[in-house]
Every structure is written in structure tokens, then in C-alpha cells.
């Protein structure tokens, strides 16, 4: 009965949209404050990354020098052949895989499968750490080749500043995500989410929503990489 009341109170579609936004107390019906706040944080983060990418676009469009050929700059020498963007492609697949395992973890969380949830989150963290490790390798390689924020041997000087700023900020996001994944996964593994009582991550026993909120952040990091991959590496 409670469920049907909920449905009649909150119509779907545009009508529901208008009613939610003009209603008392709470705009985001059936969304916890934690999830709503994570979404609003991600929205603000969207603007941060958008501004980085637009700044990069402005630098690239306004320079007289040729932009370095990313296909060659980021190529990897394997077995006597230069493979363009190989490392970046592997990094992309690693991050997508981690998004997949995260989605599975969220699903297991709502099914209250304690060990599966924690295990999948650890796997997600491992893939994230692998991504950051490959990024460190990439940075090291470029720095050894003489790429600096103020210049590089391949072309336009703004290349280095854009590269370090954008991938550095994204890598920081991944690293923070890995830390939080490990923290939450460890708490779940220990059974803290199945004990009664409120903590900063749950309202009561069996409240696994923190996994979904963590997942939102993690998928966002993957989402940002989709745009960086397209605009910085492929363009």
C-alpha cells in the first residue's frame, strides 16, 4: 500500500518533473541525500573538466605552431614495430573493465551479497591502480623524452601544460577513487554494513547504498576518460 501511495504521489514524465520541483521539502523524491549530493558534486566536477578541455582547445586553436602528433607521441615500441596509442588503448580497456566490475559490485550490494560486493570492489580498485600505474609509466616516458609544461621537442609548447594538467587531474581522481574503494570494500568485508546502527556510510544494517554512490563517482571517472581519450588523444 505504501508503495502505491508513493506511485500516485509522484507521477512520472514532465508532469512529475514540474511537481517535484515545485513541491515542498524535497525535490529529489526517492533519492537519498547522499546520492543527490554525489550527483551535484559530479555536476560541479563536470564543469571543472569541461573548463580544462575548453582551455586545451583554446590553446591548441590559437597557437601558430603545429600541435604534436599524439598518434606518434603516444606510440609504443613493441617487437620492432611502433604501435600508435597502444598504451592509451590498454588504459581505456582497463578503465572500462573497472566500470563493469563496479556496476556488478553495486548490483551485489543491493542483493546484500557481502563478500561478492567487497571482492568486486577490490577488483575495481586493483584495475584503477593498474590504470594509474600505466599513467605513471606514460608520464615518465614523456618526461624522459623532454616534454615539459613549458615546451617539448614535438611541436606547440602548450602541449605539455595541457597534457600534464588534464591527465594529472584525472589521475588524481582515479587515485582518490581507489582509496575510497578500498576503505568501503574493507568495511563491507568486515561486516560493518550488516551491523545495526547509523554510521557515516549507512543508515542501518543492510544499507548498501554507499556502494552505489561510490559507483557513481567511479563511473564518472570512466566517463571523463571517454572525453579525454576522444579530445586529447584521438583528435
Amino acid at each position: 500500500m505504501a508503495e502505491s501511495t508513493l506511485q500516485t504521489d509522484h507521477p512520472e514524465g514532465l508532469d512529475g518533473f514540474v511537481r517535484d520541483w515545485s513541491s515542498d521539502q524535497r525535490t529529489f523524491k526517492r533519492v537519498s541525500w547522499g546520492k543527490a549530493m554525489m550527483w551535484i558534486f559530479l555536476l560541479s566536477d563536470t564543469f571543472v573538466f569541461s573548463i580544462f578541455l575548453i582551455g586545451y582547445m583554446s590553446a591548441r586553436m590559437s597557437t601558430k605552431s603545429d600541435w604534436p602528433n599524439t598518434s606518434e607521441v603516444f606510440s609504443l615500441h613493441v617487437g620492432g614495430a611502433d604501435l600508435p596509442l597502444l598504451l592509451i588503448a590498454i588504459m581505456t580497456f582497463v578503465l572500462i573493465s573497472s566500470s563493469g566490475t563496479m556496476a556488478m559490485a553495486v548490483r551485489c550490494g543491493y542483493a546484500r551479497a557481502r563478500k561478492a560486493t567487497a571482492g568486486l570492489m577490490y577488483l575495481t580498485a586493483l584495475l584503477g591502480a593498474t590504470f594509474v600505474g600505466m599513467q605513471v609509466f606514460e608520464w615518465t616516458k614523456l618526461i624522459q623524452e623532454g616534454v615539459r609544461p613549458w615546451g617539448n621537442p614535438f611541436g606547440a609548447e602548450q602541449f605539455g601544460a595541457s597534457f600534464f594538467m588534464i591527465t594529472g587531474f584525472h589521475g588524481t581522481h582515479v587515485s582518490i577513487g581507489v582509496l575510497f574503494l578500498i576503505i568501503i570494500a574493507t568495511k563491507i568485508w568486515r561486516g560493518e554494513f550488516d551491523r545495526p546502527g547509523r554510521t557515516w556510510l549507512k543508515s542501518d544494517a543492510g544499507d548498501y547504498e554507499a556502494v552505489e554512490i561510490m559507483g557513481l563517482y567511479w563511473h564518472f571517472v570512466d566517463l571523463v576518460w571517454v572525453f579525454i581519450f576522444a579530445f586529447f588523444y584521438l583528435w
Binding site: 508503495e3 508513493l6 509522484h10 512520472e12 514524465g13 512529475g16 518533473f17 517535484d20 525535490t27 529529489f28 523524491k29 526517492r30 533519492v31 537519498s32 550527483w39 559530479l42 555536476l43 563536470t46 564543469f47 569541461s50 573548463i51 575548453i54 582547445m57 583554446s58 586553436m61 590559437s62 597557437t63 601558430k64 600508435p84 596509442l85 588503448a89 581505456t92 580497456f93 572500462i96 573493465s97 566500470s99 563493469g100 556496476a103 556488478m104 553495486v106 548490483r107 543491493y110 542483493a111 546484500r112 550488516d194 545495526p196 542501518d204 544494517a205 547504498e209 552505489e212 559507483g215 563511473h219 570512466d222 566517463l223 571517454v226 572525453f227 581519450f229 576522444a230 588523444y233 584521438l234
Partner: protein
Amino acid sequence: MTDTTTLKPPTAHVEGQQHPLKLYFLVWGLLFVLSAFSYLVDYAGLQGLARWSLIIVFMLLKAGLIVAVFMHIAWERLALAYAILLPPLAVLAFLAIMTFESDYTLATRISVFSGH
């Protein structure tokens, strides 16, 4: 009946998200395929309009799948979905402004640095 201290059964979680496993695997697979396609754009050495349009199409498809399915926006109420998805459109206005600005900067640099 409304004792909140007892463990809630899995299906009673009003704010939870439960979707078929098959859907997640499908999206996962599609993201792999689309990433492979974007990579192939570079590998095949496509240039010009074909390159840009393909890169953007694959990018938007990937972004849409992640946001809609992995981040569950497809199942959220419109009040939340619009609050999150509409504001980033302002970025497009900023993008347009900076395109004109960058063109102008380039024109200035060409005329000033050319040595005349």
C-alpha cells in the same frame, strides 16, 4: 511493521537499483566494442571530417551508455536527470565563445608575429 532496526528484505529497498545482469554485460561489451572502434579510427589513419565525426559519435555513445545504465540515470526521476544533464549544456555556449576567441587570437598572432 515499520520497525527500521530489523534487516530489510532485499526487495523492500525503495531507493535501490536492481537491473538484469544481462543488461550490464551488454553495456560492458558495447563499451569495449565502441572503444575498439575509436581506436581503429586512429589506427586506420582517417583524417578530416570522417575522423572528427566518428570520434564524436563513438564518444557520445559511450558517454550515454555509462550515464544511462551504469549510473542509472535512465531509471531516476526526471527531476534528478534534468538537474544533472541540462546544466552541462551551458558548456556548449562557453565552447562557442572560446572558438571565436581562439580564432581571433590566432589571427592576431599571425599578423603580429609575421614580421611586417
